[in-house]
Amino acid sequence: MNFFEFLISRWPTILSLTLEHLFIVFIAMVISVTVGVAVGILITKNQMAARIVLNVTNILMTIPSLALFSLLIPVLGIGKIPAIVGLVAYTQLPIVRNVYTGIMTINPAILEAARGMGLTEKKIMRTIRIPLALPAMMSGIRTATVMGIGIGAIAGYIGAGGLGVYIFQGISRSSDQMVIVGAVLISVISILTDQFLGGVQRKLNR
C-alpha cells in the first residue's frame, strides 16, 4: 500500500484521532488557563507564596511526561481523565510565571499615577495591572498550549486517545506510515497553533 492509498483508506480514523487530540488539549487548556491565571494573580499578593508556587511548578515541569502519566495510572486509572490532569499540571509553569511577572513588572510610574488619582489597590489590579499584563499572559498561554499538544501525544500511551495512539501503535506494529502520519499531523497542529496564538499575541501588543 503506498502512502496515498493509506491516507485515503484510513482518513476517518485519522480525522477522529485528530479531533480527539484537539478535544483533550482544548479541555485541558481551558482548565489550565483558568487555574493558572487565578493562581498567578493570587500569588502577586504574597512574595513567599509566589516563591513556593513557582518552584513547585518548575519541578513539575522537569518530571518526564511519560513518568508523570504513568504515576497517575494507580491514582486515576487510564483514559482521558489522567491525561487531562497531567496536561493541566504540566502547562501550569508558563502560564503562572508569565501572569505573575506580567503583573509584577508594570511601570511603577503608571501605578504611582493611578494611586495619585485615588484608585484603590483592587481597582488598580482590575483596571491597570491585568489589562497591561495581557500580552505577557497570552505569551504564556501560547507556550503552554503548544507544549500541551506535544505532551497530549504522549498521553496516547495511557489510553487517552489522540494522535499519540497512531505513533505508539505504528511503532509496535512497525508501520512506518502510521508513525509518519501521526508525527506529521502533530507537528503541523503545533506549528499552526503557535502561529495563530502568536498572531493573537501581536494583536494584544498593539
Partner: protein, 236 residues
Amino acid sequence: MVSLRSPLKIVLLGSIGVLMTVWVVENPQDSVVARLVTYDKVWGLLLQHFYLVGASALLAVVTSVPLGIALTRPRLKSWAPRVLALVNVCQTVPSLAVVALSVGFMGVGSRPAIIALWIYALLPILSNTLVGFQEVDPAITEAAHGMGMKAWRVLFRVELPMAASMIMAGIRTAVTITIGSAILAAFVGGGGMGNLIIAGNNISRAQVLVLGAALPVLMALMADLFFEGIEKRAKY
C-alpha cells in the same frame, strides 16, 4: 557563594538518586521487582541514558555552534533572521513527533534515537548562538577592527567570549530537554531510563516506575545546576 552552593546541591541530588536505587534494590516489593531492578541493570540503563544524551548533545554542539558562527559572518548575515525564524518554528514540533519521524524513516534502534535527539538539541543551541552573536555591540567589533585585528582574531578574541554565556545557556537548555526526551528513546529501542518506566508500567509495579521517573529528573536537575555554574563563569 554560588560556586560553593551549586556543587553541594549537585552532590545532594546525586545522593538522593543513589539512596533511592539502593532502597529499591535492597527492599524490592516482590520477586518480580527484585529480578528487574539490580545494581547492574540500573547502572547499565544509566550509562545508556548518558550515552544517548552525551552523543546527541555533543553532536548538537559541534554542528550548531559553527553553523551559528557562519551565519553571523558578513557574507551570510542576511540569512540569519530567516534561519532564526525557521528554527523557532521547528522548536514547536513536539519531541515525540521528532523521535517518531526518525523511526519512520530509519527504523528502530539507538541510532535514530540519537539522530532525533541531536536535531532536537540543535535548535536551542543554534538560536542562542545566533542571538548571542547578534547582541555583540557592533561598536566593539568595529573598535577591534580599527586596532588592526584580523577578522578571525576579532571572532575568537572578541565576539566568541562575549557570546559565550548565551551559547552556554543554549547548551544548558538543550541538555536538560534532551535528558527528558531521551526517555522516549525506550519506545524505539534506544534504551535508557525509559526502559525502567515502560517495564514498571507493563508489570504495574510503582517502585520500578518511580525509580525510572526519579532518576532522569535528578539527572536533569543536576545537569541544570552544573551548566548554570559554567554559564555564570562564562559571563563576560
